[in-house]
């Protein structure tokens, strides 16, 4: 048995980024959920000739995916399967060359008293040298020429791709790599020093594409084992390139020649242009390239994502504590679900609710204290005296079922806001409650309200009684991560740390306490908020607008009468909001603070389909919000502008006040129509 202190030091989730994993770890932790015959399968088509842009939020698994299909990892798999490199490559039908654009330090290819046109030329030549070296190193590893006894001839053919000959003609692949490396260094020197020297005059020895497309064409004809092999340049971190440099890569995608294809990996916001250098035309989706929005796919295939999540957790646990975690596949799901302590909130009869409200008489519970205060100070229709207040509370009381008491108060507030006689309402509610307890009807206003608002009522009950919100259980963590595996691993990392800190023995001998889960989830939510923003002046603007939005959702969740149940989603008419607000909405979406809900929402008045978005589930615990989306609110253009346009602080204050008034007693006396309310507000 592993002790708690050892466990604390061996958190299996401590590495959450693929870049921090070794090639062996990438191989070991790889989970194959994609090689099936559904829409996810395109992830597993590395030999497809169609270029692909793999885009996703930070931590969606782009790098893991691209590295897995790189030659270094292919080699590891062939070793594992006792295959020769040549046999393995022939069987795979592709060879992957993984390169990170950040390694180029692309920012240096600009300015320095040189023209943009010259920089474009220099960058294109630099890329040719850079990619060609990567290709040749793979060929050397495959023994091309050397094992075939024709290396000199091969070298001569490759050198034939050059427009002018260098001083010393290489006679082998290693020498060609050295030559390209020397040319690259010379270019580096000129690029780096041209600001002082004033000179940037590279001698360009090869036409663009002659090496990176030309060499694969030559060698697939020359060697049988490469005959049906696709050469894949995988360029990760596309966001690190400038607009002109991205246009150049897009041009390569357009002009690529078989047997070469290109994969581009980048963040959601990473694509600055789809233009090419060919007369500024854009490359065309689905004919010239495919788009693979990774986390969106994960979200769309919930079952797959759940299986995938279980598998990656199991792999991590196996790697960390192999002896205790080796389980038959069928038991993995069950075991992982059992690891976490989950309070039973599934039924309104659960005794856990009695524990939350604490001992004592029903009428002294916190929600009734609040109700009494409001009835006493506001005195709505039908309630004037202390005796009437006592009677209302007595009618709403349900000693054994505190959740139903919460529901009773909610319905009372609903009637109150609709201008009904509160005293009479309480009598009707009392009757409905008793009927429900006796027969547990599934239909009718009472049952429907419970079904809709249960999550909000439990959240209110927890908050009113000084308890932490409940986000426990593996499925909650998976839902929170919203298609970003790194977010899931980060939650587990923090939960594990808290569990070990609490003296538990997480993930093996005992269940992880709800306390550790709550603290871990909160930390993970804060991590997401701080770390998804990234650099740039817009980062703070995104955070500020998300703060505003989430605070409105919180007002709704904890209001006397929420406008919508489990509200973390909203729709907006993108044609009616200000340009700045729409820009910030899209920025927040590109940084994964907001998630687009597929299909949008139909506007009740205009029948127009509007843009529908939700707060990223990872952020929900930061504001005690639900992680499961149910209701959605159609935000008015003025509200969208006030939330997402950073300059409109005063207008936001009005929206904030409006939401507070609409969701809390005494409620606006007469519900004004939309135009009137907008007029009042702005």
């Amino acid at each position: 048995v592993v002790t708690a202190s050892q466990r604390k030091n061996s958190n299996p989730f401590v590495v959450t980024k693929a870049v921090d994993l070794t090639d062996d770890q990438i191989q070991e932790l790889w989970v194959d959920v994609v090689s099936t015959t559904d829409a996810m399968a395109e992830l597993a088509r590395p030999s497809s000739p169609m270029p692909t842009y793999v885009l996703g939020g930070k931590g969606s698994g782009k790098t893991h995916l691209m590295r897995y299909h790189a030659f270094e990892l292919q080699t590891l798999r062939y070793q594992r399967d006792s295959l020769s490199l040549r046999t393995g490559i022939a069987q795979d039908g592709y060879v992957g060359m993984y390169l990170r654009c950040s390694g180029l330090n692309a920012g240096r290819f600009g300015g320095k008293r040189q023209s943009p046109e010259l920089w474009n030329e220099v960058f294109a030549y630099y890329m040719e040298l850079w990619l060609a070296q990567s290709l040749l190193k793979v060929l050397i590893a495959l023994g091309a020429g050397k094992e075939d006894g024709d290396e000199k001839e091969l070298a001569a053919v490759i050198m034939g791709q050059f427009d002018s000959e260098p001083e010393e003609i290489p006679t082998g692949l290693e020498e060609i790599v050295s030559l390209l490396s020397k040319l690259q260094k010379e270019l580096d020197y000129q690029v780096n020093n041209c600001i002082v020297s004033g000179k940037l005059e590279p001698s360009i020895l090869v036409t663009r594409g002659n090496l990176i497309f030309g060499i694969p064409k030559l060698i697939t004809k020359r060697y049988l084992f490469l005959r049906d092999v696709m050469f894949v340049y995988s360029m990760d971190e596309f966001e690190n390139l400038t607009i002109n440099q991205q246009a150049f890569i897009n041009t390569l995608v357009r002009e690529r020649e078989l047997p070469v294809t290109i994969r581009v990996g980048g963040r959601l916001y990473g694509v600055k242009t789809w233009h090419t250098n060919s007369a500024e035309e854009e490359i065309l989706q689905n004919s010239e390239y495919e788009l693979l929005p990774l986390d969106e796919r994960f979200r769309a295939h919930k079952k797959k994502y759940k299986d995938f999540s279980h598998a990656i957790i199991h792999k991590r646990l196996l790697a960390a504590f192999e002896a205790t975690m080796r389980l038959p596949d069928l038991e993995v799901h069950e075991h992982l679900t059992r690891i976490f302590d989950i309070p039973d909130h599934s039924s309104w009869r659960s005794e856990e609710f009695l524990d939350i409200v604490g001992p004592g008489g029903s009428e002294n519970r916190r929600h009734f204290e609040i109700l009494r205060e409001k009835l006493n100070s506001i005195q709505p229709m039908g309630v004037r005296s202390r005796r009437e207040i006592d009677l209302v509370v007595q009618r709403l009381s349900s000693q054994r079922f505190p959740l139903l008491e919460k529901l009773n108060t909610l319905i009372l507030y609903q009637d109150w806001s609709n201008g009904k006689n509160v005293f009479q309402s309480s009598e009707a509610i009392s009757f409905s409650c008793k009927e429900f307890v006796a027969r547990e009807q599934q239909r009718g206003r009472y049952a429907s309200a419970l079904g809709h608002f249960k999550s909000d009522l439990i959240a209110q009950m927890l908050r009113e009684n000084g308890r932490k919100q409940d986000y426990s259980g593996l499925q909650s963590f998976i839902d929170m991560s919203a298609g970003l595996p790194r977010a899931l691993l980060t939650i587990l990392k923090y939960v594990f740390d808290w569990s070990a800190f609490n003296g538990e023995e997480p993930f093996t001998n005992q269940r992880v306490s709800t306390d550790a889960q709550q603290r871990g989830v909160k930390d993970a939510s804060d991590w997401f908020y701080e770390n998804m923003r990234k650099a740039g002046p817009d980062g703070a603007i995104i955070q500020a607008s998300i703060d505003r939005l989430a605070n409105l959702f919180r007002i709704n969740r904890f209001g006397d009468k929420p406008i919508e149940c489990s509200l973390i989603a909203f729709s907006l008419d993108e044609h009616a909001v200000s340009q700045e607000a729409l820009r910030v909405v899209k920025l927040a979406e590109s940084r994964s603070f907001l998630i687009r809900v597929p299909g949008g929402q139909r506007d009740r008045n205009s029948e127009r389909i509007t843009m529908k978005l939700q707060l990223n589930n990872m952020l929900a615990p930061r504001w005690d919000l639900p992680i499961a989306r149910r209701g959605a609110i159609n935000l008015k253009p003025a509200e969208v502008n006030a939330i997402f346009d950073p300059a409109r602080t005063d207008e936001y204050q009005l929206v904030y006040r409006d939401w507070t008034e609409r969701t809390n007693a005494p409620f606006p006396t007469k519900k004004p129509n939309t135009k009137e309310r907008q007029g009042v507000l702005f």
Partner: protein
């Protein structure tokens, strides 16, 4: 290895006049008492304030005396225009530069320019604050980072093999900067250098606390923490020299990234080390650039250091 500690370094008295004379004195105006005091006390035939756009001074806020400012897209262009403006044979001048108010990338490129201009010797001054205004919460950059890039003139050759890239961060108070730099080179192993001895006793804890907040970007389980003095560029350069040599012995470093984001004295140390040992190699100086900087983040003046740089030694 070069022993940088043989360079002269002394502390100048605040209550006495300074005897050394110069032909040219350059300082960057940031409104702080520190730079004004030093500007007053230095004896020079020509004194020049340079005005960085990043401090956003209005025309009526300019200091008395000769000023230089220019619109430039980067530190390289700025420094070139500065020396075009000075139009002097630098190699025959006795030069003194107060680096306290300078932008860090400008310190680095300026040093490179002087090194390449056959200047053999110059003094650089750095004044320590008594305290930062908001202690561990002090923000020096007043807007978020817009771009992390190599400093002009300190852009190394690219090694296509990135399997053992190393990022050494001279970590200051602003964890956002540390996180941004670490994010930019997230594939690289990271070593964080904290300022110890710090400028003031409590500044080490403040520095360590802020650095901890960037732990997610730095990565866990791959981080080493080492120390460099906050006010000594020569020891900083020596520590870097030994550290990199040791790393190279363990396993050759494929690409080396140096990021000085703490004190200006440390920035000078990073630049010196680069010019002396890492030119035309796989080494780059990288920096997180913000659009604007707080003019005056410190209170008081504790000590003024004079560092004498003798280029032939390096």
């Amino acid at each position: 290895l070069i022993d940088y500690t043989i360079f002269y370094r002394d502390s100048l008295p605040l209550n006495e006049s300074w005897s050394r004379e110069y032909d040219l004195f350059v300082s960057a105006y940031n409104g702080s008492q520190r730079v004004k005091t030093v500007y007053e006390k230095v004896n020079a035939r020509r004194k020049l304030w340079i005005l960085h756009d990043e401090y956003s001074f209005e025309a009526d806020e300019r200091p008395e005396g000769e000023c230089f400012s220019c619109k430039s897209e980067d530190e390289g262009e700025y420094i070139l225009q500065l020396f075009d403006y000075l139009s002097s044979d630098l190699s025959i001048l006795r030069i003194c530069v107060d680096i306290t108010g300078f932008m860090r990338p400008h310190i680095a490129f300026g040093l490179k320019y002087l090194y390449d201009s056959s200047v053999t010797k110059l003094d650089m001054l750095y004044s320590e604050p008594s305290q930062y205004k908001k202690k561990e919460s002090t923000q020096f950059s007043s807007s978020p980072v817009e771009l992390v890039r190599q400093v002009v003139g300190f852009e190394g050759e690219v090694n296509n093999d990135t399997s053992n890239d190393l990022l050494i961060i001279g970590a200051g108070y602003e964890h956002e900067l540390i996180a941004d730099v670490a994010d930019e080179k997230d594939k690289a192993r990271k070593i964080v250098l904290l300022g110890l001895p710090s400028l003031r006793a409590d500044m080490y804890q403040q520095n360590a606390w802020r650095t901890q907040q960037a732990s997610d970007a730095i990565g866990e389980g791959v981080t080493s923490k080492l120390f460099i003095p906050a006010n000594d560029p020569f020891v900083t350069a020596s520590v870097l020299s030994k550290l990199v040599a040791k790393q190279e012995m363990i396993q050759p470093v494929t690409n080396l990234y140096l990021s000085p984001i703490a004190t200006k004295a440390q920035t000078l140390g990073f630049a010196l080390y680069y010019l002396a040992e890492r030119r035309n190699s796989n080494t780059s100086l990288i920096f997180p650039f913000s659009g604007s900087y707080a003019r005056d983040s410190a209170i008081g003046i504790a000590r003024v250091w004079r560092y004498t740089i003798e280029f032939p030694v390096i």
